[in-house]
């Protein structure tokens, strides 16, 4: 799909918990050629300290109802402003940006690992994989049970596994301590998105076990479409812009 800039009307603003909102925007004349892992750059004009747009993974799309969904965590002024938008208000969105995930081959066994607000792009990814594979495992990590959102939706997409740091849900510990990793070599592909230390740990496991693995990076961005060169990550072929060469990278291409 061609990149576009549009004022989108917010249809629903659902507060999933004190920190996380699901925002559903109407996209008139929806073009469904959006790939899981792509993102959008949303205007956050509220105060002098939110000059730039804010990037968010596309959480889901609903071509029939012409909507695009985001899962947004309130971490600062920009996300606060965006999640405070009222239904019916509109906001400028540039989308779709970046390259998405590489989909698996038919019937491969895949593991999707999300931490924190890194769960956002995995929903659309899981939905895209389902036609190819029944063997989808989704591992979500959070600090505490109350930080986990949309568990029902995720469990419809595959087998759900959970870790929390305080043990209030699922296994206690960090994501990478989950028992699923005991048999990790059964998986053909791992997809992960979340805090960098988590992704690095996952990538380490994948590389050690020689498992194909894609990570979705969340580098700070200014433009989101490849012109500012601010969002680079070091790859084996030098610095590459995350917003255009990524945000999804195969771990083998990164200097991790």
């Amino acid at each position: 799909m061609r990149k576009t800039i549009k004022d989108l009307v917010l249809l629903r603003n659902i507060r999933l918990n004190p920190d996380n909102h699901l925002l559903i925007f109407k996209v008139p004349g929806f073009d469904s050629d959006i790939k899981p892992g792509q993102f959008a750059n949303i205007e956050a004009k509220y105060s002098t300290s939110t000059f730039l747009r804010r990037p968010f993974s596309i959480h889901n799309i609903d071509p029939e109802n012409e909507t695009i969904h985001f899962l947004i965590k309130r971490v600062g002024e920009g996300t606060r402003h965006i999640t405070d938008l009222k239904e019916g208000e509109s906001v400028s969105v540039v989308f779709p940006l970046g390259h998405g995930f590489t989909l698996p081959e038919r019937d491969e066994k895949v593991l999707l690992i999300g931490g924190g607000c890194g769960v956002a792009p995995l929903m659309m990814l899981a939905r895209a994989i389902r036609p190819y594979s029944e063997d989808i495992h989704i591992l979500l990590g959070a600090r505490s049970a109350k930080d986990l959102v949309e568990l029902d939706e995720y469990s419809q997409m595959g087998e759900l596994h959970i870790t929390t740091e305080d043990g209030t849900a699922g296994e206690k510990g960090f994501v990478t301590q989950h028992s699923i990793f005991k048999n990790v070599s059964e998986f053909n592909r791992i997809y992960t998105c979340g805090p960098e230390p988590m992704m690095k740990a996952v990538a380490g496991i994948a590389m050690k076990n020689n498992i194909w693995c894609e990570v979705s990076l969340e580098n700070m961005m200014a433009c989101g479409f490849g012109v500012c060169l601010c969002c680079v990550t070091e790859t084996k072929e030098g610095n590459k812009s995350v917003c255009t060469h990524g945000p999804v990278f195969n771990v083998n291409d990164l200097k991790w």
Binding site: M220, C228, L229
Partner: protein
Amino acid sequence: MVDLAVKIDKLNLKNPVMTASGTCGFGEEFSDFIDLNRLGGFIVKGTTLNPRQGNPYPRMAETASGMLNAVGLQNGGVEHFIHDIYPRICDYKTNILVNVSGSTVEDYVRVAEKLNDLEHIPGIELNISCPNVKEGGMAFGTSCTSAETVVNAVRKAYNKTLVVKLSPNVTDITEIARAVEAAGADSVSLINTLLGMAINAEKRRPVLSTVTGGLSGPCVKAIALRMVWQVSKAVKIPIIGLGGIMNASDAIEFLLAGATAIQVGTANFIDPQITIKIIDGIEDYMIRHNIKDIRELIGGLQM
């Protein structure tokens, strides 16, 4: 109908709106958003003799009404530009200028020489004002003698339109402007970024990998406007004004202050269609004010 055309040396611009180096890639990146041929021109990103990886991440910090960058001239080098980029972009019907950077006078000259032969590159913009590289860059733009030296040398090697981009990090920008005019510049563009710094108080660390970086965006507009106005009184060559332009009104302010053309930088990040909106907005303004020829606005500030 209103006439938006302006002239910078031998360049005919269909309107005064260009995009600024380092904020518009090679132009192509905008093709989903705008028709590049509508622009007066665009300046491709800083090009050096040899490829450069630029500075480590993080290279960006948001500031009040602006941002700091420390990209550090990441680019594939001039040969890469000539062989891999130029063939893709040379058919655009607008003025494509290459922004040239270097660490030594010799570097600048060799890049300029190579670009001199490209038919569809009618001019270069000499970047003697980049605050994000260790050697060269801004150092050339903050003293009259070094500015003169580099412009003199490039002038001998380059016979198309030579624009020199000035640094705002100086006590008296008119001195530098006069020096580069005397050394043979056909035009000056200003301003490049102001040297700034950002700190993460919680982490007690600099935000940028390079500690300091270049400040751009609307926060610098008042300074840029003042410098354009000062320089317009000091030199005879045309001025390309930039720094914080976000809309048509900002652009007109720069024209009134004495700029013949303007560049849009950081604003492209927030709205990739902003240049077209600015062109249309200038046209609307002229119609509303009954101005037939945009040149009436240039330096048209009433005191």
